[in-house]
Amino acid sequence: MSDRPITPAPRSGAPLLRNICTIAHIDHGKSTLADRMLELTGVLKGSHDAQYLDRMDLERERGITIKAAAVRMPYKDHIFNLIDTPGHVDFAYEVSRALNACEGAILLVDATQGVEAQTIATLFQAIEVGLDVIPVINKVDLPAADPDRVEEEIHHLIGGNDEIIRLSAKTGEGVDVLLDAIIERVRPPEVDTSDDAVRALIFDSVFDPYRGVITYVRMMSGEIHDRAQVRLMSTGFVTSIGELGVLAPGPTPVQRLGAGEVGYLITGIKEVQNARVGDTVTLAASPAASSVPGFREPKPMVWTGLYPEEGEYEELRDALDKLRLNDAGFVYEPETSKALGFGFRCGFLGMLHMEIATERLHREFNLELVVTAPTVAYRVVLTSGEELIVHSPSDLPDPSHIEHIEEPFVDAMIISPAAFIGQIMELCQEKRGEQRKLDYLSPERVELTYAMPLGEIIFEFFDQLKTRTRGYASLDYDITGYREAPMVRVDLLVHGTAVDAFSTIVHRDRAYNWGRAMTERLKDLIPRQQFDVAIQAAIGAKIIARETVKARRKDVTAKCYGGDITRKRKLLEKQKKGKAKMRQIGEVEVPPDVFIRALRVEEK
């Protein structure tokens, strides 16, 4: 706990409050700016970890913020609450809740890079919510800075009326101008005064191993006191507040939080699922009539199978339990694969979310995992009229029972130097994209929007985009709905045995290429056996690709060992040990890493 005396909270609806967030692309300097603001307002003094708002090591390493936080700072008789927003598309819903907790937004753009796709997506959300936007160009101290060009891009996006602040978060130059602008250009919190009912919007929820779930709220109306009995409006869950506080910047208990204020609650809640972002906290004794609009259950859109190395099933389950404590967007259920054994089907908000979660399992829990090919959640309409959401190829019903299949579609926004426009259009067409918009932000930079299947986005799209644009393009996407598509399940058969880990749901036009690529890859990975091994890709009973691993004709060392039988036996013992590690696909013996290597896309 901080022992620094804190500025007393202003009265409810006080005109001296400013709740703001920052909209920025990765590496555009959001965290550095926050640090500088904390310093200039006297909240932090020199010796501290850089980038205070990024809590997790992983975030710091990747230079991204995956969980929002809020910090309070006093400035010229005012109190600012700086609410941090996640920087990635997978957390778009969390971003929207964070935006709802604010009245103002700093639009932060790197003077050397310009506007990026994610920035635009979030900016449009902020404008929709009605936030007062302060455009800021950062890194003007760098030699490569081109603030005039960037200013042109910003004006192209939001019109030419707003004054754009140029600053350097690194040196601090211009940051005071921004602080003053926050007071002048961002309106104070609007408080619903229609009743006194407490309505606190949860915009973040974090699991702390020592304190349980810490819930970050924006008071939309009413006043809340510590020790109050509260109710979560979406679930009806009732609990009492153990601690009420603000981040100044460390957790600092307060007695009460009034309308317009931002702070945290610590209750008896042990899992973040019970205090979900977007939910409304009210008083149990005198509940509000209606919750803050816009609550949504997080919907996992990308699914994959996670399988442990042999014997680590229990460890994986414990790790997934712990991960879920801290991640409301993550779901999992047990799954069994003939090829991979016992594991879990896991759902994520998107690709980055999946990558972060699997990386955490590896790093924090020291687990070696097999990750099967990701798939999206398909909507399957049966001939009976029944509707299913299918997120695992093995759950896809028999084709004769399927009326049609719908796949999730997104609007993908790509911003890139104009020089790469051809490559990007080619890639998007390969990925079944339909162009929606082509807009020049400036003569050098272009914004492209494509309607595209999410299933294509999660499969090598981002890597390809980066490769084809030499890393310059940025991507954002927004799930827009479902569209009917001729999706088929392709199975891989090894010597007649279907290998479930390799089954996939794919567009009919892609099935052949996919089947050929996988059979070729497996041909190189499966060792020769005593017999010819057919590797086939099939849609139902129809074989669409085939490779053969020819039978081995020789395995013996036809050599003279003289009388040294011991050596010969030791060699065979070693071979036998190696053989014991092999896994079986029907009669075919394969090394245990075949599955991992076949599924690892980059080995192609």
Partner: protein
Amino acid sequence: MPTLTRLPRPRDVLNEFGIYVHVPFCSHRCWYCDFNAYAGLDDQIAPYMDALERDAREAFSAPDGAELDQRPVVTSIFIGGGTPSLVPAPSIVCVVDALRDGWTIASDAEITIECNPESITAAKLDAYLAGGINRISFGVQSLDNALLERLGRIHDAATALEALRLAKRAGFDNVSADLIYGVPDETDDAWRRSLDGVLATGVDHLSCYALIYEEGTPLESFRKLGKVVPIPDDDVARRWDMTNEILGAGGFVRYEISNWTKPGRASKHNSLYWKCGEYLGIGAGAHSHLATRCGAVRSWTVKSPERYASRARPAGSEQIDVRTRASEVMLLGLRMTEGVSKDAFARLVGSSIEEVYPDELEAAVSRDLLAVDADAVTVRRPFLLNEAVLPFV
């Protein structure tokens, strides 16, 4: 597996006993060779041969516990190397004479010497014959000069053919040649020519080995450096098929994976290894397999010729229990065309093969790896022997 109070003694079961004599000297080491052989140690030959002579009488290479108080009748002697033909013939004959002093040698014993073509002369051959050596095995390896060079051999094809003819002319009626197939750049035709050329000299026996890239050999270093690219396994397998065909047409039968013979000329000494028989190995880096009071022991002597010459005791040994015995009977016996005789298995192990390996046999038969009939277990596809024997390891 039932345990016995005493593991049967192979010498009692097979009525055979062998002695191996190792001569580790060479004038040049071939690129592929990983045997205990040395070039440039000519000054050590004399003291070494003296030690061998004493060992032949005293059997100091035998490990502790080996049952040699009553010496069994010796049915085969094999003088191998290295290059035994490199050392003076009289010192070889002295060792054989010393063996006769120390042991009872059966009248029909097979006594083999390994020779290299470039170091053989008519005088040497006469001396060997006079000393009682009745079988001669030449390291020919190939009759293609380019391939010989590739293997690091120092003789050419003409020298090899001449040596084989010389041995026949000297009166050897049991002449064998070693050949190596699967050498990089070797063609089917080159291999056929080697086989045909050797057959034309009237040899009685052929050992044809597939080239192996052994760890620590120059050949393996060349491979790692990419200077030598091994030929595909399928080509090696085809050469083996060719060998069976060509030698079969020449009146030879294959009695082991790498060994073909005219009727009645199978190597007794090598067969003894595959039948899990007993033998004493004398010399540097020589291996023995000998019965002990209640079991058996496999042992080996020091590799250094110099240390051996100072009569160092065996360098290491491994006790053989009933489980290992059973395993060895299988993995050695299945190399032979006749396979593992059920009767011999029962007598060497103390229980029947069906009792010891019921599941393993059934599985291997169902996978068409082994065939089991009333008398023997044989391998169905000899070139996939490893797969067949692994369950028994």
